[in-house]
């Protein structure tokens, strides 16, 4: 997996709470059997004025100029600033894939939906929870100052701006370690095959009906 160590990035504001995974990537784009190529359709219904379908040449589609990603000042943003319960709804990993494919590497919000939050880590993307009043301040700062950037240091669990303001955030130790090192989660579990087999042997005695094939 791609590691995340630190990031100095432009911040794009999505000033809504409860942004759901259907809004992040509408279902028609989930018909792809690949993991990449979702970036052009990130926030499709907010970003374009026409109806998006897979396989379109997005350069010819009419843009919603009011949507922040279409404003030149946010071009190249890698940090998404948003509101409560971001990523609610389905478990589709296509949502974090689309954010990552577009270029986002970190997300800041007062809260995230559980499944989405976990899916971000699987893709080298860091979701940061900051208190609502700080998120409010950051929104004001982003609106005030074109080109507003933030610096994220995962090892220190710290967000800072070039003026020197800093905010610390919480993250579970295991997740932090995995992101910093870009660990292969499946490989790690696989290395514990013996422990898993021992567990299975015990379960097979306790609940043999779960092992009809004899495992």
């Amino acid at each position: 997996m791609e590691p995340f160590i630190s990031l100095d990035g432009l911040v794009a504001p999505l000033d809504r709470s409860n942004v759901d995974t259907d809004a992040i990537l509408p279902k028609q784009f989930m018909k792809s059997i690949a993991r990449t190529g979702f970036g052009p359709n990130l926030f499709d219904e907010l970003r374009y004025l026409d109806r998006g379908e897979p396989g379109q040449d997005v350069s010819k589609r009419p843009l919603n100029r009011d949507f922040m990603l279409n404003q030149p000042r946010y071009a190249g943003a890698s940090i998404l600033l948003t509101r409560h319960n971001f990523g609610c709804g389905s478990s589709r990993e296509h949502a974090p894939w689309a954010l990552h494919d577009y270029g986002f590497r970190a997300l800041i919000a007062p809260s995230f939906a559980d499944i989405f939050y976990g899916n971000c880590f699987k893709n080298g993307m860091l979701p940061i929870v900051l208190p609502e009043n700080i998120v409010d301040e950051l929104f004001q700062a982003v609106y005030r100052a074109p080109g507003y950037r933030l610096i994220i240091d995962l090892a220190l669990q710290r967000v800072s701006n070039p003026a020197g303001d800093t905010w610390e955030f919480e993250i579970e130790a295991a997740r932090k370690d995995s992101l910093l090192k870009g660990l292969d989660d499946i490989g790690i579990t696989f290395s514990k095959a013996e422990i898993i087999r021992n567990y299975e042997a015990l379960r097979k005695q306790q609940e043999p009906w779960l092992f009809p094939g004899g495992a």
């Binding site: 259907d22 018909k31 792809s32 609610c88 709804g89 589709r92 295991a174 499946i186 579990t189 009906w209």
Partner: protein
């Protein structure tokens, strides 16, 4: 004597392969349900790493999200699917299941259906199991006291490869529901009420156990409806303790244990309930006898009101972010604050989805519809059974005739208009009374407007042409 434990704790501890001091555990997964949309990248990952499924006998697969529900298209099998991308996805599931020796119910198999309907129906979901799928509504299976939750595609691959997941413990939350539901008020209304009360993030980080006299009185179908929408309250897991109904439902199902093993299983399953005195991190109490049928008015499942009320006024909301959300929802939904819910007239009615497409749901709807006709103002009314076996059962009971004679379309099983990945969709601006679970912008089709309701309200609304419950409807007649 061991300390009193919640059902969640019992299930969690039974599945811990190893756990560190922070509560992060390697959790063993007993059942994995796989479908066409969130699995192809996981199978590709296995291939790239040269891995095989750890235990392919724990995996049950079927295509549901993309499949056509019209017989003319469905009868051609995979090759008959007209959308080329859907066809590729469904075909890919088939070839992956063949390659990795996974039991798949193919498109023309009568056991095919929505994964969250067929798991319990087959007895593939059993008490005490951990159940995962690459779909958030996997919470449904918690109705059987299984620890069941949705995962992303990376974790689908992780479970395929290792039979385990690395997870942090969830916190136990109790929703205690007491009292009798009034006639015409269902499990769907109850869960919509709960979501309205605690909000779509109210259960974040928790597993919600539903308990109390009302829950004990619910059928297994009703309990599945309840647990299904735990995720709409933010909780990945919904749970109901095992009782006689759980055991009776499962006995004789194809994947359920038999003979001596059945007896041993039942003994164990009876222990799958929260001990007296166990502690929950949060408790909510609900008086079921006060509930009315619910209708969602906005673009989040927490935006719900009783059917007799009016669309709420954002200007009464103090919080500016919430107020802006309400205003945007009203604009999207084409509604005005203060409108009576019963004055809102949908264009379409959808009865189906993993929330409400089981036999009991169809019986409830058919009871309202019988001998009546869909209003002229309704352009389409769909009934999409949750599985081929639900469809067969409904047909054996004559429910299909009741729906068809009333002007409903009787379709083949699948997820259908719940999320509109197939051709069953809402057009721009179309309004739908839907028994599904999400009313997000564009959920049922770009520009579509979804109102979440029970099968009773969906049926009565189809007949009346505006939001109605069976009571209103009888008065009208």
């Amino acid at each position: 004597m061991t300390a009193a434990r919640t059902l969640l704790e019992k299930l969690w501890e039974r599945h811990v392969v190893e756990e560190d001091e922070t509560g992060r555990a390697l959790l063993y997964i007993d059942r994995h349900l796989v479908y066409e949309v969130t699995s192809p990248q996981a199978f590709e990952g296995l291939r790239l790493a040269g891995r095989k499924p750890w235990r392919s006998d724990t995996v049950l697969a079927t295509a549901d999200h993309n499949v056509p529900t019209v017989w003319s298209e469905r009868s051609g099998g995979v090759d008959g699917i007209s959308d080329p991308l859907s066809r590729i996805q469904v075909r890919k599931l088939g070839s992956n299941c063949e390659e990795f020796d996974i039991n798949e119910f193919r498109l023309q198999d009568r056991r095919q259906g929505i994964i969250h309907v067929i798991g319990p129906e087959q007895g593939a979901t059993l008490p005490g199991m951990t159940v995962v799928a690459g779909d958030s509504h996997t919470s449904t299976h918690g109705a059987f006291a299984a620890l069941a939750f949705g995962v992303g595609t990376s974790e689908v691959e992780h479970v395929l490869a290792t039979q385990c997941l690395s997870m942090q413990r969830m916190k136990p939350m109790l929703v205690k529901v007491e009292g009798d539901l009034r006639p015409g008020v269902t499990a769907k209304d109850l869960i919509l009420h709960i979501i309205g009360r605690i909000g779509t993030a109210g259960g974040t980080g928790y597993a919600i156990e539903f308990a109390g006299s009302t829950i004990r009185d619910l059928s297994m179908e009703g309990r599945m409806t309840l647990c299904n929408m735990a995720i709409e309250a933010g909780a990945r897991v919904g749970l109901v303790a095992v009782d006689r109904k759980t055991i009776d439902y499962l006995e004789g199902r194809p994947f359920a244990p038999e003979g001596k093993q059945w007896a041993a299983a039942v003994e164990y399953w009876k222990t799958l309930k929260t001990d007296d005195g166990a502690v929950f991190d949060r408790t909510i109490e609900v008086d079921a006898s006060a509930l009315q049928p619910m209708v969602s008015w906005g673009t989040s499942p927490e935006m719900v009101v009783p059917i007799d009320e009016v669309v709420p006024d954002p200007s009464n909301e103090a919080d500016p972010v919430r107020r802006a959300g309400m205003e945007r929802a009203l604009a999207y939904m084409g509604l005005r604050a203060g409108m009576r819910i019963s004055d809102i007239a949908p264009d379409k009615v959808f009865i189906g989805s993993c929330t409400n497409a089981r036999i009991e749901d169809l019986r409830l709807a058919a009871k309202v519809v019988k001998g009546r006709h869909v209003s002229n103002s309704i352009v389409q009314a769909l009934v999409v059974p949750g599985s081929g076996l639900v469809k067969e059962q409904a047909e054996a009971e004559g429910l299909d005739r009741i729906f068809i004679e009333a002007g409903f379309e009787w379709r083949e099983p699948g997820c259908s208009m719940c999320l509109g990945m197939n051709s069953d969709r809402l057009g721009d601006g179309e309004r739908c009374a839907s028994t599904s679970n999400r009313n997000f912008e564009g959920r049922q089709g770009a520009g579509g407007r979804t109102h979440l309701v029970s099968p009773v309200v969906a049926a009565a609304t189809a007949i009346a042409g505006h939001f109605a419950d069976d009571h209103h409807f009888d008065v009208r007649e």
